[in-house]
């Protein structure tokens, strides 16, 4: 019984720690991650603006022993990912503030090729099934 309580206590502790870590990581993504620190060169200061997405999750499981001799057990795991993409460059200089949007041709080309490829494959399957 003591061993069982220990396992559950330890899992609860780990859960609390992981929740705290999740909160910290998510709050980091919420504030101050979109705009970079300004870089100053001569009369100009430049900051970059990016889209930032962060996702993460943790999971736990525990099991009680069916027989007296068997031990209880528990385990957990977690995962996450972050994604960033430059959106614009803000330049501050003697002639005022300029915002230049960043277009990502690689991302656009990949999305378009994937869309067109999926459409082509769907149409080919239909035509094949119909016998055209």
């Amino acid at each position: 019984m003591t061993q069982e309580t220990d396992v559950f206590d330890r899992i609860s502790e780990e859960q609390a720690k992981n929740r705290h870590m999740l909160e910290k990581l998510l709050s980091f993504a919420e504030s101050g991650s979109v705009y970079s620190e300004p870089v100053t060169r001569g009369d100009y200061a430049v900051i970059t603006a990016s889209e930032v997405t962060v996702g993460m999750a943790v999971g736990y499981g525990m099991g009680e022993a069916e027989a007296e001799d068997d031990g209880d057990g528990g385990g957990g795991g977690g995962g996450g990912g972050a994604y960033g993409r430059p959106v614009a460059v803000v330049s501050i200089g003697p002639d005022g503030v300029q915002v230049k949007e960043v277009v990502d041709p690689t991302k656009i080309a990949l999305a378009l090729f994937t869309t067109i490829g999926a459409m082509f494959l769907m149409l080919r399957q239909i035509f094949k099934a119909v016998g055209v």
Binding site: A29, V52, A88, V103
Partner: protein, 98 residues
């Protein structure tokens, strides 16, 4: 009663930057999805607030890449729905070959 506040959307202002008597305050939009064992945060720049000679101006930041990606996703979803509809019609008319 428990208030379900899993999805939050807010506009956040960053630290102001002053250069050449121009003060720039970056602004962003944060969408947060918080679940008991995880979460997602989506943060994107929306615009900058410019203060110069006691004039305040806002420049919004457009994101053409995002709009093109959204258009591609909408197009592929529409095409998928049309294809499903077409497949069901052909199936009901007994048009498929075995």
């Amino acid at each position: 009663m428990i208030k379900f506040n899993a999805i939050q959307r807010q506009t956040v202002s960053g630290a102001p930057l002053t250069h050449h008597n121009i003060t720039v305050t970056p602004q962003s939009e944060v969408v947060t999805l918080k679940l008991p064992y995880g979460g997602v945060v989506w943060n994107r720049p929306t615009g900058i607030l410019i203060e110069q000679d006691s004039k305040v101006e806002t420049i919004s930041i457009a994101d053409p890449t995002r709009w093109i990606l959204i258009a591609a996703r909408v197009l592929s979803t529409l095409f998928m729905l049309i294809t499903i509809d077409l497949t069901i019609r052909i199936f009901l008319q007994g048009g498929f070959q075995r």
